[in-house]
Symmetry: C2
Subunit: 332 residues, 2 copies
């Protein structure tokens, strides 16, 4: 085990916004060691609820769209507006590639030197379910440490978008104009999750293409039904190179917050997210407990063998274990 | 409830390869009604294990890459080789869009008229977890009905690739040459999951671009470590328009089967998949049982309220429920 602090040192350090302690606390949160989980639980339970307004923004987009450059430019803009920002990453692909393509701080060279910004490289390894739980805890730590805008970046492949959508207030989809086959290339499921589309690299020779794409996407978005938030996702453009469009994006997010706070969607959404987090936590814990239980642990291992030797269909073996489980619950 | 058959009629119909009964059985499998789940369980338990060799192939690729055209061309090629093929789709985006963009049989006009092919539109609605469980059961039904190649298509966004990878023997990634920014646009996590890359639309003016892309991707793939299967994913090209490349793709898949059967990876992989299916089944069922349990059901609802009113952090509320659960297990 790497050097750990005492619970109190974590809590105090975080309260004071100490970056080194925050980084160590995030490492603690990401650890799978049982002792670390216990300490992490104690630290979490001692963090006071944050009263000030915090905005959690999810950012996704295909590789090559310029996510890092966008975050660097947008992040620096926000710090100029006196916001303290934290950047977290959810990257399930690092499970396969053993080490993240997004984890590199040098991707955001300027922002990483900015004292009002905190960038956390993506933890590598672990299943998405676990990663998601840890990222939610990491968000809380950053908020307790005084950051008021949390940017959660996803690698834009696999399962990460859905996970991130479930932990943020606003979900931003970055798009590159004229990359491949325009509307053909829309990721439909992702697009419907987005609260706004932002066309990146709206600079130099790309300007014409960006405007065209903006009109095209805006048109396409009209085909979707209005979300329960009552919000119609707009399409904006920006250039990280020329630092344009950042103010408009921020103003839009503030408008979203104002409107959805008024109709209560913002608050309802946060509550739903908290309940989902609770459910995910339980669901992962239950399986672990089943294995540890003397009776069910034995049964599950026996059924596994039968599934492997094709004596049982997986679904039917599952039914059997659930039946046993039900009996235990009902006898109580 | 729509018209249902008796268990025996489903079982006999499937055994005889009756397409109408198979379609009805798949509808039964996809149903969430409790009565249907019971019938589905009975039907599943009465299906005899299939002895003949079956190959399950997963197919993914970004929208616009030509998945439907590929499946139509590849499917027709396989039926000419005396294979009966079934096409299933996993499309979690239909959860949001209420109705699938992939579900339309008319996408594969020729194949849908082919008596040796069975195309199942994607069921709409339901969470990915549930969809995944049902698709696995659907595969079994199709196999019991005599289909020997199962093509499982994914919409290529969100979480579906990982789910499909977990239920097939071979995972094919379709790529369009020169779409956007070549290697920049590689979905790294997805690429590492693929057992082969196939560049589509290798015809007419695209031929030069396709060859270039083939060389480029082949080079990129060399950077990855060899899979535990011992297989090095190749990069092939094809044209659904000119019906070229299909034989090479099929031969490659047969080679994969031969090699990995020899080193036992094929068999081990299938066993692992069966165990994962079993676990997923239990994990979803457990949560449902917790809610139904008098004691834990009450506790979980109380904790939910506390999470919503911010009296409890989700993770800590989760710990409390798990603690109660543990106590019940250990007292037995």
């Amino acid at each position: 085990m790497k050097q750990r602090l005492k619970v109190n040192d974590y809590v105090e350090g975080i309260r004071q916004g100490n970056r080194v302690v925050l980084a160590k606390a995030l490492t603690l949160i990401e650890s799978d060691l049982a002792a670390d989980r216990v300490t992490a639980g104690k630290v979490l339970s001692r963090l006071k609820p944050v009263v000030k307004d915090i905005i959690r923004i999810g950012i996704t987009g295909a590789p090559g769209v310029g996510k890092s450059s966008f975050i660097e430019s947008f992040g620096n803009f926000l710090t100029q507006r006196n916001k303290k920002i934290a950047v977290l990453t959810v990257d399930p692909t690092s499970q396969l590639s053993k080490g993240s393509i997004l984890g590199d701080k040098t991707r955001m060279e300027q922002l990483s030197k900015n004292s009002q910004a905190f960038i956390r490289p993506s933890p590598s390894g672990g299943a998405l379910g676990g990663t998601t739980l840890r990222t939610r805890e990491s968000i809380l730590l950053c908020e307790a440490a005084g950051y008021d805008v949390i940017l959660v970046e996803t690698v834009g492949v696999g399962q990460s978008e859905v996970a991130v959508k479930g932990m943020v207030d606003f979900f931003l989809l970055l798009i590159l104009a004229g990359a491949g086959d325009a509307l053909q290339g829309i990721k439909r499921g992702i697009m419907e999750m987005a609260d706004a589309l932002v066309i990146t690299k709206d600079d130099g020779d790309n300007k014409k293409k960006s405007r065209d794409a903006q009109a095209e996407y805006q048109h396409a978005l009209q085909l979707f039904r209005t979300d329960e938030s009552g919000w119609k996702p707009p399409v904006l453009t920006c250039s990280a190179l020329e630092h344009t469009g950042m103010e408009e994006i921020w103003e839009m997010i503030l408008t979203y917050k104002e409107k959805t706070s008024k109709n209560k969607f913002w608050q309802v959404n946060r509550k739903k997210q908290a309940v989902n987090w609770f459910h995910d936590y339980i669901s992962q814990g239950l399986m672990a407990e089943i294995y540890r239980s003397p009776r069910l642990g034995k049964l599950i291992k026996k059924l596994e063998k039968e599934v492997i030797s094709k004596k049982q269909l997986p679904a039917l073996a599952g039914e059997k274990l659930l039946a046993s489980f039900k009996k235990m619950l009902s006898s109580k």
